[in-house]
Symmetry: C2
Subunit: 211 residues, 2 copies
């Protein structure tokens, strides 16, 4: 019973379940495949390998090379396969985490003239459209039947970026015509209540305020 593997550890095991690789290869593979939904930095790859090997989940073999540095080729051990598979087999999607600075900026839109937020929204839309296009053309090229699962993750990206672009467009049209003035001095403001209580999934009545 390995002492609590992180999702990143499983990611490393998973990549090694495709081909045996060196740390260098792993870092590149991660960058070119799972980066968009589970980034793994180069240093962390080496750190993970150093953790996983003594646990017996992974095994490295020194490969002498000439003309370039020697390397250690890592492969999944049987124990490693078992650990990976037992993680995969639980249908638990795990906790998704998002950090989207631009939504913070939108949320605080009351500080700005609506045109500022509109500009931001156009930026968001442009980026989303560009990414959607890139991913779509990637999808078109991924015709190898064995890449079925990889294609699903890319099509996820297409869906999300398209939805994002659509939202940004709609949001721009929904922008208030005038700047929303919120005076923090107005203590117990209905605005603050509306903002904070809303998300609390509670009643739609009462306006006694926060303070």
């Amino acid at each position: 019973m390995p002492p609590q593997l992180t999702t990143t550890s499983q990611a490393i095991l998973g990549l090694l379940s495709i081909v045996p690789m060196s740390g260098y290869d792993l870092a590149q593979a991660a960058e070119h495949s799972i980066r968009l939904f589970w980034p793994v930095s180069k240093s962390q790859v080496y750190a993970e390998l150093a953790r996983l090997e003594p646990m017996g989940l992974v095994q490295g073999a020194e490969i002498a090379q000439e003309g370039r540095p020697d390397k250690r080729l890592f492969r999944l051990t049987e124990q490693g396969e078992a650990v990976l598979d037992s993680w995969l087999e639980s249908a638990d999607p795990g906790a998704a985490r998002h950090r989207l600075p631009f939504l913070l900026k939108v949320f605080f839109g009351h500080r700005m003239a609506p045109e500022r937020t509109a500009e931001l929204l156009r930026e968001v839309r442009a980026k989303a459209r560009a990414e959607a296009a890139e991913l779509s053309s990637l999808l078109a090229v991924m015709d190898h039947p064995d890449a079925a699962y990889a294609r699903l993750t890319v099509s996820f990206g297409v869906r999300m970026t398209e939805a994002m672009a659509a939202w940004a467009e709609e949001a721009e049209a929904c922008l208030p015509p005038e700047r929303i003035e919120i005076d923090p001095r107005r203590v117990g403001s209905t605005t603050a209540s509306a903002l904070f209580r809303a998300a609390a999934r509670l009643s739609a009545d009462d306006d006694s305020g926060l303070a």
Copy 2:
């Protein structure tokens, strides 16, 4: 020139730009408003306040209370407002980061019978649908005109969760009928190449393999 504020710092400033609040209030407000796209834990709220106050961006005032613990009410200083506004005014959306464990599981679907992945996908769809419904009913209740920007962030959530559910449904239908067998022993496998080179946005030819 404050020495490099984090996005979380800006989030605290932003919340205080709505109403002056105690650390406790801030933590709750964050939990009930920006949590889905920028989570801030209770401890971190206090840590941020302790950083922001000596920088002069925020100022706390002791409020004596009876019947409950005293508290410190924090308000934005003029300098704090300036810092917040200059951050908001740049139309840079910032770097979005996602961590979606279920996409990792999908990506490694070749380890499992397709039915296992199908189960996962159904789980994902159910969760997404539930969240979409919750956010939609939230939206319906957020009718206060001053909550316009907050509503945009919620409608973003609706869009994303709906897109996610739609993807999960489509993905389930796209699942390969048979398990994809990938033998890592087959060094230089075309599969590995297809998976890893694909995302590199490069040529669609050549199959010399990785190793």
